[in-house]
């Protein structure tokens, strides 16, 4: 299955990537190739096999409901591009 231009742009939009005209063309081909590999897997009959969420068999990895000390606001904000007081600051969000 070949991915068309629209589909590539949609994927780019979801991934918040802006692509040039050349990139769109290039990725359209490359993504189609990747998809083609996976299409080979579709040939297997998996009707009677339950879906697998994880490759390693682990179940019920849980912790008790106890607390531990948190970061200080300064530590939490250490990587923030912008801060205002003890808040992270970002561009205005309308919605």
């Amino acid at each position: 299955m070949k991915l068309d231009r629209e589909q590539v742009l949609h994927i780019a939009e979801l991934a918040k990537l802006s692509l040039t005209e050349e990139e769109t063309e290039l990725f359209s081909e490359q993504l189609s190739e990747v998809l083609a590999y996976f299409e080979q897997l579709q040939e297997l009959d998996t009707d009677d096999i339950p879906p697998t969420a994880q490759a390693i068999y682990q179940r019920n990895v849980m912790r008790p409901d106890t607390t531990a000390p948190c970061l200080t606001p300064d530590e939490a904000l250490a990587n923030a591009p912008q801060r205002k007081g003890d808040y992270f600051q970002v561009k205005p969000i309308l919605d």
């Binding site: 949609h10 979801l14 918040k16 969420a53 994880q54 390693i56 682990q58 179940r59 019920n60 990895v61 849980m62 912790r63 008790p64 409901d65 106890t66 607390t67 531990a68 948190c70 970061l71 200080t72 606001p73 939490a76 904000l77 205002k84 007081g85 003890d86 808040y87 992270f88 600051q89 970002v90 561009k91 205005p92 969000i93 919605d95």
Partner: protein, 480 residues
Amino acid sequence: MEFEAIIGVEVHAQILTKSKMFCRCSADVAHAAPNTHTCPICLGMPGTLPVINQAAVEATVLTGMALNCTIPSFSKFDRKNYHYPDLPKGYQVSQYDYPLTKDGYLDVQVNGETRRLRIRRVHLEEDTARLVHEGDTSLIDFNRSSLPLMEIVSEADMRSAEDTYAYLVKLRQILRYLGVSTGNMEEGAMRCEANISVRPVGMEEYGTKVEVKNLNSFRSVRLAIAYEIERQIGVLEEGGEIQQVTMGWDEAGLRTVFQRSKEFAEDYRYFPEPDLPPLEIDQALRESIAARLPELPDAKRERCVMVYGIRSEDARLLCEDRATAGFFERAVEAASERVSAQTVANWIVGEVFRLLGESGQGIDQIKMQPEDLAALLDMLAGGTINATVAKEVLEEMFTSGQAPDVIVERRGLRQINDQEALSAAVRTALDDNPGPVAQYLAGKEQVLGFLIGQVMRATRGQANVQIVTELLRAELEKRR
């Protein structure tokens, strides 16, 4: 043309745990300064490993059980991908195709009729950070990020604002009974979104649905849904078309307002969360959670009527919350044989509720013990005190938490049953009020109440009213 409304709701309820959903940061963030309850996990740093909080899983399963859901043996978490600054990971950990619980229902009373409203699922997810919009900038506080959140999704079984209101009130009551959430809408601990569509009565297909957000109180839920139904019917009646949009409730304008269109279908690209192994709710875990299921409001109310023989309206009021029902039951258990359960109910629904209302306290916050209320009512039943004094003593018990016999002794409030002492008081009252006495003798018997009041005042409210009444009648006859 007649129209009917089709409504379904999604409720998000914050789960009362000590720590967050996937990390050990304290979940007690309600009044915390910004960004004081964070760690690399709930800040969404790369390379961190979340670990599931068992208490949140159990609270969700418990809720599912209370809502008559089935509990599948297999469940897992998924990533719901979208970009928004309140979610720096770029995805929310939620549950997609294998929720912890599903296929339940809630029976609610609407206009005296029982309606069974189906619940599609109750699943577990993490809350997002809190955004503060400030002029030309937005600020983020990650305290709320990754708090455990239950999403309770109903089927589209509701047909009116009243249905939806009844559903939400009942749902909150159950969440509170279970102790899994405060259910406080005003504080955002319980949030509601409604999907509303209308269609001509008799039509099979659904109309285009509109999502209404920003419903921050029970009142706004009711008003917003009623408004939106009318709006949609209005559009259709004028030959218009309903657009698939998200509306917000404008609390000040009392109307729904356009927020955004949904012309692009949401594309969350769910996939299994690779960092969290799936859950297996086996028989043992299921049973241990089921053992914690308390008696729910409907069952409790029925039992109060059956076992204690109280009026069903009183039972409804007493079982409104678990603490009140517990207070009532403890008082009834402690009460002597001469105090009926209905008497206990009357005093709680009447006097105690009045005092709670005036003080703004919850019944679990007051000093008065239910056993002391039982003792007070026994003193009343035995004639140690009269009803007026009992109310006075109750007020003091309510504020001080002292036992009723202590208060009665200290303040000398024992009822005066002594015939001789009361006869003297009666004679004095009649001597001091010749006018009313003459009226009574002339046939105006209503003044007896006034004369009783005079004696009661003279005895500081402690006289046995029954004896006073008898003595008054006898003494008045003598003066005829």
